[in-house]
């Protein structure tokens, strides 16, 4: 177990270094950083001095090393656009995105897994057909359309819920949370649902397919032949076996919720990282883009690590190295 986890950690570090190389490549080769920093009337000598002082004349590897060591310490340089440290910008935006993502991931799982199980156990019931039709719509409707429709209905027509922003937030140290105010919670509802719907429908279909597969296996038949109760068979034996492959996909989905909340954040003007990233792209704010790239890679690496460890917990076949 320890050996396995430490192997995975080592691999994760390699992945992060490679992503770092790409992020650094952005800095170094996309555009000229000096041009982005100085005005029109800077002299050549001044530019030379700035290049020298920023270490841009050093060999490639030295610069990469410096970039990595800075990044490890949380220093991603200055945003070209806002003239603020990137790390500060990210820290400001990160809580908003994470809160939104976690709530929608929770929604997707809490609704999607039971619906998947139900549709697998009762493949012929009317409710199943309803669920499957809804999930087909959920998979095929684009996120922004769902968001806009929700805004139109709940925000504009009914005027029940706010349609943009985070509402009031309360600062807990460096973390700002919308969980503790009524307006913060109300603001969370629409974007969280929008973000959750696609993931949920995907989870429903995945769990259903896997579960149907498991229900056909010999050990389920054998469990029935031993007279075990259907509840024990369906929820203890079948569900656990279903979850083994489902965990991987769900892990990656949670990662992509965090990484690709961009569209939802744009629709709801949610002050998260996605919005920051979109603005950075339109203004060629390379330090912000590089930092975002690294952060998302980090999120995926962490999630994969967690998924691998969960595998270990769920599936005993992996525990004993034969």
């Amino acid at each position: 177990m320890f050996k396995f986890v430490s192997m995975r950690l080592l691999q994760s570090i390699v992945v992060m270094l490679v992503v770092g190389l790409i992020a650094f490549g952005l800095f170094r080769f996309v555009g000229d950083p000096i041009n982005n920093m100085v005005g029109q009337d800077t002299t050549l000598a001044e530019r030379e001095a700035l290049t020298e002082s920023l270490g841009l004349n050093d060999p490639f590897l030295v610069q990469y090393g410096r970039f990595v060591s800075n990044a490890v310490q949380g220093d991603f340089g200055m945003s070209y656009r806002l003239r603020q440290p990137v790390s500060g910008l990210i820290a400001e935006r990160f809580p908003a995105t994470l809160e939104l993502s976690l709530i929608s991931a929770f929604l997707a799982l809490a609704l999607g897994v039971p619906m998947g199980i139900y549709t697998a156990l009762k493949p012929k019931s009317i409710i199943t057909r309803g669920f499957m039709t809804l999930s087909l719509m959920g998979v095929s409707l684009p996120t922004f359309l769902i968001g806009i429709l929700l805004i139109l209905f709940f925000g504009v027509t009914l005027r029940w819920l706010p349609t943009f922003g985070r509402g009031e937030v309360i600062d807990l140290g460096w973390w700002s949370t919308g969980f503790l105010t009524a307006s913060g919670l109300k603001s969370l509802i629409l974007p969280a649902i929008t973000l959750a719907i696609f993931q949920m429908t995907l989870i429903v279909r995945l769990v259903r397919a896997e579960m149907l597969e498991v229900l056909r296996t010999d050990y389920i038949k054998f469990a029935h032949a031993r007279g075990l109760s259907p509840r024990l068979i369906n929820f203890s034996i079948a569900l656990r076996n279903t979850l083994v492959p489902v965990i991987t996909i769900i892990g990656l989905q949670v990662g992509s919720i965090i990484a690709f909340a961009i569209i939802t954040e744009s629709v709801f003007q949610w002050p998260g990282m996605g919005l920051l990233f979109i603005q950075a792209v339109s203004e060629v704010d390379i330090p912000v883009m590089a930092a975002y790239l690294l952060l998302i890679a980090f999120v995926f690496v962490v999630i994969n690590l967690v998924v691998d460890i969960l595998y270990f917990v769920v599936d005993p076949r992996l525990r004993v190295q034969s």
């Binding site: 050990y219 038949k221 054998f222 469990a223 031993r226 007279g227 109760s229 083994v244 076949r317 004993v320």
Partner: protein
């Protein structure tokens, strides 16, 4: 006579479909008494397993019991609700499934699965249930049960897992046990142990057992009485010795005559026509036909294939070399195959039989030793083109008829592929003609050319494989368990076909099988494999009469002895006299 435990009366099982009901079992009457083993035998599709599932109330939808009654110890259990059946399943009727590798939940320890079942039926507390679990494992012969109980299924071997499955079926001391092909997935030596165990349990506990199987050997070993099923109908029931020795029904008779005999070598298998038409072979005139041409490869004396000190190693485990282990799949194996002979390789699973076939055909690269084919060392050849010249002369027939032909190609293209690849025909028209002739020759008929493989049964697909193998005009045929996925009547047909082709075309064969009776019928000489080594090479008759190596003796002793297996001549004569008088 002990009391009747399970009594099945006029059971009908039907599967409704768009084209009317399919009757899977019709008016089936079976009964089993305490301490008795009833064998239910038949070929695939005969409805054997359906009966077991119907008794348990586990028919898969849309199947349903269409009539008849089932009594358990005098109480009618057919027509009970699922909730009531749950109190019978596992508690009063236990069931054992075919494949021990898939019958156990891989994510739970043996203890948890046993305790769950015990508590469901007997209401024990945790400690009592655990104690019972351990004593059950002890009863089924698992060594060191108090420790093994906490292991997961994957930590047990196949035979041990089947013992666990049996322990699970015994949890609540059922009165009747249904065993559906309990040993089919196991090696012969493990099979013998499991059958011993089942017999012991039946005698000691006085349970009644129904063993459903396609394997006459299993029936001969353990069954007291036998019911023969054919297309959903029990055609004959009687004591084992009677059914195996002197069956009345024509189907039972032909089924039993198709079983390869372990004791005497026959020139051909008697044909069974009842299940699937054997396929009329249209013989070709080989002296003029393409297939018969260029059969003269020059030298025809001595060895065609000579294998010396062959080695093959598989590495497993660690990506960085740590904790990796080496499996010697083929360990210093030497043998030779003479022109025109059929050389058998026999051994249990994992003994390296198939690896040798793959080494000889250069699918795997050997780790050492030499493979001399018609005077050329194949291991020395580097160029693919050069290798293909030799590969054309050797062809392979695989075990699984379903995955060894490309499902997306028409039969014509499947068989024409090697002809086109090796450019053996001068024109496309000639290729087509050859394919049609080959199909006729293996008994499928030229009409088969335009069909796809899924339109054929297992036996017919194996004929396609054979036609494809013949399409390169090979001199050497490697058959890797060519009939072990087939029913015994189909097996007899395929083996006859192989024998005929060998005679007509002067083929040399390497015949790999785990089935000793089949080896005895097919081969001139046999090599016995055990754990990657070839422990004995002998003339077939010599091996079966007087094996030398301990492992060969062990294997031969495990071969099912069909005591009183129908002795055609004498029994038929007797039966004839009985009828006459």
């Amino acid at each position: 006579m002990s009391k009747t435990l399970l009594d099945i009366k006029d059971l009908v099982v039907e599967f409704p479909s768009r084209h009317g009901d399919v009757i899977a079992a019709k008016d089936v009457c079976l009964s089993v008494a305490s301490g008795e083993i009833l064998g239910v035998v038949g070929e695939s599709g005969a409805g054997k397993s359906t009966i077991g599932n119907a008794v348990m109330g586990l028919l898969e939808r849309p199947g349903r019991v269409g009539g008849g009654e089932v009594f358990l110890d005098g109480e009618k259990i057919s027509g009970k609700s699922q909730v009531e059946m749950r109190k019978i399943r596992g508690k009063r009727i236990g069931m054992i499934f075919q494949d021990p590798l898939t019958s156990l939940n891989p994510l739970e320890t043996i203890a948890k699965q046993l305790i769950g079942t015990i508590q469901t039926h007997l209401g024990f507390n945790d400690a009592e249930a655990r104690e019972r679990a351990i004593s059950l494992l002890d009863q089924v012969g698992i060594p060191n049960p108090s420790e093994r109980v906490d292991h997961y299924p994957h930590q047990f071997s196949g035979g041990m897992r089947q013992r666990v499955v049996i322990a699970l079926a015994l949890c609540a001391e059922p009165e009747v046990i249904l065993a559906d092909e309990p040993t089919t997935a196991l090696d012969v030596s493990i099979q013998a142990q499991i059958l011993d165990l089942l017999r012991k349990l039946v005698r000691e506990k006085g349970v009644g057992m129904i063993i459903i199987t396609h394997d006459m050997g299993v029936i001969a070993e353990v069954a007291d009485r036998v019911a023969v099923m054919y297309r959903g109908v029990v055609v004959e029931t009687g004591p084992t010795a009677k059914i195996l020795g002197n069956p009345d029904h024509p189907y039972s008779r032909s089924l039993i005559s198709a079983v390869p005999r372990p004791d005497v070598r026959l020139h051909r298998f008697p044909m069974v026509e009842s299940i699937e038409a054997a396929g009329e072979r249209k013989e070709l005139d080989l002296s003029t036909h393409w297939l018969g041409k260029v059969r003269d490869f020059g030298q025809n004396e001595g060895s065609l294939l000579k294998v010396d000190n062959l080695e093959m190693v598989f590495k497993t485990g660690g990506m960085f070399g740590s904790g990796s282990s080496v499996v010697r799949a083929v360990d210093d194996v030497s043998f030779d195959i003479r022109h025109g002979e059929c050389f058998g390789i026999v051994g249990e699973s994992g003994s390296g039989k198939s690896t040798i076939a793959r080494l000889v055909t250069s699918i795997y690269k050997s780790a050492g030793g030499s493979i001399n084919f018609a005077g050329t060392d194949l291991t020395k050849i580097k160029k693919r083109k050069e290798l293909n010249v030799h590969r054309r002369q050797m062809q392979m027939i695989f075990q699984d008829p379903f995955s060894s032909v490309n499902a997306r190609m028409r039969v014509r293209d499947i068989i024409a592929e090697p002809i086109r690849f090796h450019k053996l025909a001068s024109s496309e028209a000639e290729t087509r003609q050859i394919v049609d002739d080959l199909l006729d020759h293996v008994g499928l008929g030229a009409k088969a050319a335009v069909k796809y493989p899924h339109e054929f049964s297992g036996g017919q697909r194996q004929r396609i494989s054979i036609a494809r193998a013949l399409a390169t005009r090979p001199r050497f045929l490697i058959c890797d368990e060519p009939t072990s996925a087939l029913d015994v009547s189909i097996q007899a047909q395929i083996l006859n076909l192989l024998k005929d082709l060998q005679d007509e075309l002067g083929l040399t064969m390497m015949f790999i099988s785990h089935d000793l009776p089949v080896i005895r019928q097919m081969c001139d000489r046999v090599g016995v494999m055990s754990k990657g080594k070839m422990v004995e090479i002998a003339e077939t008759e010599e091996l079966f009469v007087a094996p030398k190596h301990d492992y060969s003796k062990h294997l031969i002793s495990l071969m099912p002895s069909y005591t009183g297996l129908m002795n055609k001549e004498s029994n038929h004569a007797e039966a004839g006299q009985a009828e006459a008088s």
